[in-house]
């Protein structure tokens, strides 16, 4: 495998320059890109169409109110019209609607920009389809490929559709979807067989079986997703929508009944003023920004190079409290490395190193190579050619569980392998297993390492200490997760002893040793039965059931098609630890909604204090006592509240798009912090804001 990869890469390097498919610019776009803003400005007006506003009942009501105040401006409809005041109210009501539309359009615009880039990757390709029993090659348009078709793709050709490699091996440039220009290897069989339409083969020849119908390819799905065309409201969003609609109706009751109360009290309030009051009270801030928050959340996921199949999946990641991570490649560097030579009694360490090196010279496994490297580092031993020594390599098999060398001339045999296999090997030759080596083996095992015992003929010469290297910074990440209330479980094929040691070293909360795919599935079910929500990553076909069972299943892009289908997210960079980022984005998404809802409701307190005294000041001058902000006139008080209500939407667009800052502090502290910031802050800020606007209005003689 490794040799094949080297070869392919070598071939790649010979071809320069590499003709790559168009790349998606995946740099974090500045929050307010000029082109996006321009497009959003037009969209804000297009979205005034009531049919489009239907999705957002809160803002639809504002639009209806704006329309009504506009109609009331027609001379003769009402008795006394204070035009200067009413025109301003009307304009600001329309502005409120437009600001909300603008927020949504900006969020969508960022997605659309990404979609446009992706569309360029969807160039029309010519597919070389193999048909019939004789596999005759024919050329058809890539868009006509159907599921099950076989196509052949060679160097410098674009893969015409999503599929699985069934023959051959190739290096592929997947920059079109991942933005990563380093080529990746795709080969038949195993867990790296999936290829994506629109990516380019850089070397060699593969036969691909198409796995998607036209218009359903990965890129098609991705475009729809980022454009928001298929955006469906997530469960929490629906629940929040209901809450907002409910509150809106409560405030509708409160304002509509104010008219008879006013009449009873011998004063009157105009319809325009009632509408102004209603718009101020209903949760317009969150209503205006709700969809922008959702779209921006998906966008953020995509910026991390993760493709979520739905917003629901991202939201669910925020709820996760158990994280299953594969040890190999996620928690540890992936390969065990030799770190120490422990000689048997009476054997020189250098001698052991030399024999160990000999046994590993032709061993292409990462472990074998690491032994050669260690021998060179510690004792300056250089590699030698096998046939110069007259030796033949005996590769590792599952049956012998040993590898080594057989010398053709003198019958000398060198072996390294698991302690019990090597014991058997020397016993058969009349050797004995020294007590000291047994202790060394036990020590290495106890420390979570893997002992390899080395034998030369019938003599044990010592032990090689192989160690799993835990990736840097993992402990901190797991601590962070623990603070969030997420327990990490390490999944490994190692024996329980080794697993426990690595688990301790990496700082995970629990581990599952000697795990089979069935064990994984059973573990997920067990955790779910306990009431936990489980996230996991996987790439192999045998991970598919577990990925499907998990509440959040993130498949690696390098993985097989079944794994990708089973999960609800695909990580284009194939980095399993990214689940942590997805969890954070999911949490951020929910927090942003909650924070703005709280802020929106808290704002109402100040608005009441601005508007209610103003409404009845003529009838009851004593209500001036409630005018705690000392607003200049009743008109300016009402106008200031309406203007504040509109401007706060614009002011909060960056927060909605960027999301509330997430810190892994544990729910209690986050709650305290956010309640203070958005709850208490939400009560105070409008008092200040309305007062400032009032002063300005008065200074500009607008009210």
């Amino acid at each position: 495998m490794a040799t094949a990869q080297q070869q392919v890469l070598a071939t790649v390097n010979l071809r320069a320059p590499v003709p790559g498919p168009p790349q998606v610019n995946r740099q974090t776009r500045s929050l307010f890109d000029r082109a996006i803003l321009r497009r959003a400005l037009t969209d804000a007006f297009v979205k005034l169409n009531p049919r489009k506003m239907m999705k957002n009942p809160v803002m639809l009501l504002v639009e209806a109110g704006a329309l009504l105040t506009t109609i009331l401006l027609i001379p003769g409809l009402t008795q006394s019209v204070d035009y200067r005041f009413q025109i301003q109210i009307t304009l600001w009501l329309w502005a409120t609607v437009l600001f909300a539309n603008f927020a949504e359009a900006v969020a969508e615009g960022r997605g659309k920009a990404q979609a446009d880039a992706l569309r360029k990757a969807k160039i029309e390709t010519v597919a070389r389809r193999l048909s019939g029993a004789d596999r005759r090659e024919e050329r058809i348009a890539g868009s006509q490929l159907r599921k099950g078709d076989l196509v052949v793709v060679e160097a410098n050709e674009v893969i015409p559709g999503d599929g699985a490699v069934i023959e051959g091996i190739a290096s592929v440039n997947e920059a079109a979807i991942t933005g990563e220009s380093a080529p990746v290897i795709r080969e038949a069989g195993g867990d790296r067989s999936a290829v994506t339409g629109g990516t380019m083969v850089l070397s060699d020849r593969i036969v691909v079986e198409i796995t998607s119908e036209p218009g359903q390819t990965f890129i098609d799905r991705m475009i729809k997703l980022v454009e928001g065309a298929e955006r469906q409201k997530t469960p929490n969003e629906i629940a929040l929508d209901i809450l907002l609609a409910g509150l809106t109706i409560v405030f509708l009751f409160a304002t509509v009944t104010l008219k008879p109360f006013a009449l009873y009290s011998g004063s009157d309030v105009s319809v325009t003023v009632l509408i102004a009051l209603l718009v101020c009270l209903i949760p317009t801030t969150i209503g205006a920004l709700l969809s922008a928050i959702g779209i921006a959340g998906m966008d953020r996921v995509l910026q991390h190079n993760i493709l979520a199949m739905s917003g629901r999946a991202v939201e669910a990641s925020g709820d996760v409290n158990v994280l299953l991570l594969d040890k190999t490649g996620t928690i540890t560097l992936g390969n065990r490395q030799a770190v120490e030579f422990i000689p048997a009694p009476g054997v020189d360490a250098k001698k052991l190193a030399e024999i160990a090196q000999l046994s590993s010279l032709a061993d292409e496994t990462p472990e074998g190579r690491s032994i050669v490297v260690l021998a060179k580092e510690k004792f300056g031993l250089r590699g030698r050619e096998l046939h110069d020594l007259g030796a033949r390599f005996v590769p590792f098999t599952a049956k012998t569980r040993m590898s080594g060398l057989d010398f053709e001339n003198n019958g000398r045999a060198i072996r390294k392998g698991a302690a019990d296999s090597v014991t058997e090997f020397i016993r058969a030759r009349g050797g004995i297993f020294p007590e000291q080596v047994q202790q060394d083996v036990a020590r290495v095992g106890g420390e979570g390492g893997t002992p390899l015992v080395v034998a030369d003929g019938n003599r044990i010469v010592g032990t090689i200490y192989l160690k799993d290297i835990v990736k840097g910074g993992m402990k901190e990440r797991f601590d962070r997760l623990r603070m969030m209330g997420i327990r990490t479980v390490m999944i490994t094929g190692d024996n329980p002893l080794t697993a426990a040691f690595i688990a301790r070293e990496a700082g995970v909360d629990d581990f599952l040793a000697q795990a089979t795919p069935e064990d994984k599935l059973a573990l997920i079910r067990k955790e779910q039965a306990k009431g936990n929500l489980v996230a996991m990553t996987g790439d192999g076909t045998n991970d598919a059931p577990a990925l499907a069972q998990a509440d959040v299943g993130m498949a690696m892009n390098t993985g097989t098609q079944p794994a990708k289908e089973a999960g609800n997210m695909v990580d284009l960079d194939s980095n399993p630890t990214k689940l942590i980022e997805v969890v954070e984005i999911g949490k951020q998404l929910l927090m942003t909604r909650g924070a703005l809802t709280t802020f929106s409701i808290a704002n109402d307190v100040a608005k009441y204090f601005a508007i209610i005294p103003a409404l009845f000041l003529v009838t009851f001058p004593e209500l001036q006592a409630l005018n705690v902000m000392h607003l200049a006139t009743p008109q300016s008080a009402i106008l200031s509240a309406v203007i504040f209500n509109a401007l706060i939407i614009i002011a909060l667009i960056p927060l909605a798009l960027r999301g509330v800052e997430y810190r892994p502090l544990g729910a209690a502290r986050i709650l305290r912090r956010n309640l203070l910031l958005y709850g208490v802050g939400g009560v105070i800020i409008p008092f200040v804001g309305i007062k400032i606007i009032d002063v300005l209005l008065h200074a500009l003689r607008l009210a």
């Binding site: 409910g246 409560v250 603070m483 969030m484 929910l590 409701i601 209610i612 729910a667 986050i670």
Partner: protein, 569 residues
Amino acid sequence: MTTLEILKIAVYLLVILALTKPVGLYMRRVFSREKTFLDPILRPVERLVYRLSGVDEKKEHDWMQYTIAMLLFSAVGLFLTYAIERLQQFLPLNPDKMGAVAPDLAWNTAVSFTSNTNWQAYSGESTMSHFTQMVGLTFHNFTSAAVGIALAIALIRGIARSASKTIGNFWVDLTRCTLWLLLPICVIAATLLLSQGAIQNFSKSVEATTVEGKVQKIPQGPVASQEAIKELGTNGGGFFNANSGHPYENPTPFSNFIEMALIFMIGAGLCYTLGSMTGKVRHGWAVFWAMAILFLAGAFVATYAEQHGNPIHQRLGIAAADGNMQGKEVRFGIGDSALFATITTDASCGAVNAWHDSFTPIGGSVPLLNILLGEVIFGGVGAGMYGMILFIVLSVFIAGLMVGRTPEYIGKKIEAHDVKLAMLAVLILAFSALVGTAAAASTAAGTSSLNNAGPHGLSEITYAFASATGNNGSAFGGLNANTKFYNIALGVAMFFGRFLMIIPLMGIAGSLAAKRKLAESAGTFPVDTPLFTFLLISVVLIVGALTYFPVLSLGPYVEHFLMNAGKVF
């Protein structure tokens, strides 16, 4: 405020605090069918009840069956009471030969007692026979209280259970509540009240000659027994029109204290029951303190406002030495009257020992606001708890999002369906209180009943509809409520406030019960901290204030400023 008043409030709260755990624990045992010391006496009675009524005590109901059983039971009770009122002239125990009650008043009273409101548009002593009082009304004092408690317990079961279809058996809850909880406490309480001088007899009215030489008819009756359940069951319907201001109902300051303690006893106990049944005792206490703090705030404001008195009187030099004594009993004074008013409206009791109408605007706004907040400050027996759970669901949903998870309440996800039901309940209450008041304020049928004009009149109407919707039943006074308009309209408001609100709440119980309980972690929204208490208080206040601030500002608040400026109504 004097030290004495502060001390009195403190002692009262301490007594409630001391009662909460034993009462709450006892209720958990009763409703979880665990052993209690009364089992040897009551189990045979209970079994007999089931045998006679054909109830299978082992079978549990899902939320729909539970609700239907409750509605059926209430409907039968309602019609029965209506019939008794209309036919009382033909029925026994009518020594004063009272005639049939008018249809609109009979409807109003039947709904009123079935819904645990006990709004009384009539004077008990001059309208109802002893039979009507005992069978038609006192019966409801027990059953409507038991229904409320049963519903709260069913809702708590919904929260506590995991992946369960059922939430208990309505008939069993009703029976056990009456036998184990209400009757025993009432026996003790009635005895205590008797010891203070409350009366208990079946005599006809006694005639007395007053100092002016006039003949006064003094009605008699089984008062002490009705008094006990009136407070314990937060019914509030007095035997006499003067309610707990009447010396036969509430003879001494000590009986006054007993009555106040009875009002909060079960409501406070249910906080502990909530904590105990859901396995989160600390959560129960967090809810208790949210209620207790709101209670203290109301008690202090009301007492302060009443002691501060009326500036107009003070300027004229005719003010009572210690504040506003108008409409208050001398044997209770300002402190006990303001405290009683706060307690009776925190809970949906509605018993009164003073005339709320005669309170200062701010003093009177406390009972009004208490009712408008939904009577969740300990609240009506059961009703206070399920009303508070409604607010908890909303608090958890709004703030729960802020910790970055799908909102959870004790391991149960709060989802769209639950939010929908919770908002429906909120809307029903707001609609009934606001639209009812608006209708009355804008029609001659509504305003012609007013004794006072201006903001005070608006307060009176608002209070009536709030009291009816909230199933409180206390009257602000100053409003002639025994008219066709008010009898029917307030009857509808009481009906909405009780039965329409309960259906969505039971829906929540069913929905929560069916959900799988999620495990708790450091990321879980905390519901047992002082922060949660603070949050809950804020949500109760903000939701209440935002809905009712306009009407309150045109009622008591503007009246307060007008009073300071020398204007009264």
